[in-house]
């Protein structure tokens, strides 16, 4: 009796510790993952981050983030601790942004475009895009062939103590639900990938001789890799009725592996949008958008900008231009539809 309790207590410490360390590393690195002319989501000269003011803002931000994560980890209530770790650093991020704003500069209004049609093919073509769906379909066929081996009632969720606390029944919705849910998320991600390739501005440092096409394509490849990872995860979930409890250790190992992959990937993606060696420093301030169109440095709203997707200012990747009605439609399709589907499946 004592041994399992000690074991569970160990997990109770290890899991939050890993999550807290991951959050700390993420928020610690976040200011580094941006274009040279963007600092805490504000347009600045590229050299600003190396000035004493720039370094001091970063130092202060990191001290605050560390304090928030430490408080969140040490808080006796798990829920309050999670909320603190998630939102405390966000407040620090916004405070750092406020400190950078007095140093903001007007970005260059010179725009350059490549006068050639742009290939917006999905990475690897349609065949690679079908890969995640093929994994889900193969799992569905496997489940169909082993239908009689599925128990009438089977666990689908386990508590921190390793005991099941969520159950499902052998119905089409109960068995195939995770696969349908996974397919809807992956379809949404494929739409996003296509949108990023077709409806983003190709960033090109004015005055340089080469074209900066790498970043959207690399982000697209990253999204396809995530689609495969999701397909594998949802297949593993769907196969739970035929397998035993995956064990908390496996979940932890997968989480650590995923987190370990994120940081080098983020570094690789960020490197691809580094400035060209021959670009003029004055042209490097900003990212082709104006600060006034960014709400809290996170939400981009500019009906005058025809781009549907723009580069994020916090972190790596793209965000929607909420100044267009079609962006809200995409958000509904990609974000809300899977949730509605999940609720419908649970209800059925």
């Amino acid at each position: 009796m004592i041994e399992p309790m000690i074991e569970h207590l160990g997990w109770l410490v290890i899991l939050p510790l890993v999550a807290s360390l991951a959050a700390l590393a993420l928020f610690w690195m976040l200011p580094n993952w941006s274009r040279p002319g963007i600092y805490f989501a504000v347009t600045v000269p590229p050299e600003f981050r190396e000035t004493p003011e720039g370094r001091q803002i970063l130092r202060r931000y990191r001290v605050q983030v560390t304090a928030h994560v430490a408080i969140g980890f040490a808080w006796p209530s798990l829920i309050v601790g999670i909320v603190w770790v998630a939102f405390g650093p966000l407040v620090s991020l916004l405070m750092a942004r406020e400190r950078v704003m007095p140093h903001a500069v007007k970005p260059s209004m010179v725009r350059e475009a490549v006068l050639a049609p742009r290939a917006a093919h999905l990475p690897g073509g349609w065949l690679l895009q079908l890969g995640p769906f093929a994994i889900l379909a193969a799992t569905a066929i496997w489940l169909h062939l082993h239908w009689s081996e599925i128990p009438d009632r089977f666990p689908v969720h386990w508590g921190i103590d390793g005991r099941p606390n969520g159950w499902s029944v052998r119905t089409p919705a109960g068995v195939y639900g995770p696969l349908v849910f996974g397919a809807s998320i992956i379809a949404g991600m494929a739409v996003l990938t296509y949108g990023i390739l077709r409806h983003t501005r190709v960033q090109r440092a004015p005055g340089s001789g080469s074209v900066h096409l790498d970043f959207p394509h690399q982000v697209a490849y990253f999204l396809v890799a995530v689609e495969f990872f999701l397909a594998a995860c949802m297949s593993a979930v769907a196969l739970l009725p035929l397998t035993s409890n995956p064990g908390i250790a496996l979940v932890l190992i997968l989480t650590v592996l995923l987190l370990a992959a994120i940081f080098p990937l983020a570094h690789w993606l960020n490197k691809s949008r580094a400035p060209f060696a021959d670009a003029h420093p004055l042209d490097l301030a900003g990212d082709g958008t104006l600060d006034e169109h960014w709400k809290m440095g996170v939400i981009y709203f500019n009906p005058e900008d025809p781009a549907l997707f723009v580069e994020k200012r916090f972190g790596i990747g793209y965000t929607l231009n909420f100044g267009h009605a079609s962006s809200w439609l995409i958000l509904a399709l990609v974000g809300v539809l899977p949730l509605v589907l999940l609720l419908a499946l649970r209800h059925s």
Binding site: V110, R111, V114, L115, R118, V211
Partner: protein, 134 residues
Amino acid sequence: MANAPILRVDLASPCPVYEQIVSGIRALLVSGAFEAGQQLPTVRQLAVDLGVHHNTVAEAYRVLAEEGWLDLRRGRGAVVLERQGPRPSPEARQGFARRLEELVAKAIADGVPRAGIAGRMAALAKKIESGGVR
């Protein structure tokens, strides 16, 4: 793609953006940067890359099409045409001479050295005579 011609516009310039697009593409067309049959980016793509309204780019393409540089067939985008130079009207000749004089006067007023202007014009004249400018 890496060697594709580059169009540059200044959104802060008092000169309307569509005129900058027309002038920029026309200069590239005249210098022989494009082959006949070559495709230009779609109106949507160019508008997204420059961060301007679709109508601005559509208007610029329309002007270039009227001048005989582009073919704007639906579904094909903008395709560069093999352009036969039209016979210039007396108005066009006079207009060119006047604009050239105005341009030189403005450059001198802005402090560009006279020798520099003359040298640049001589180089341009040489390029035109050798067929480097169509």
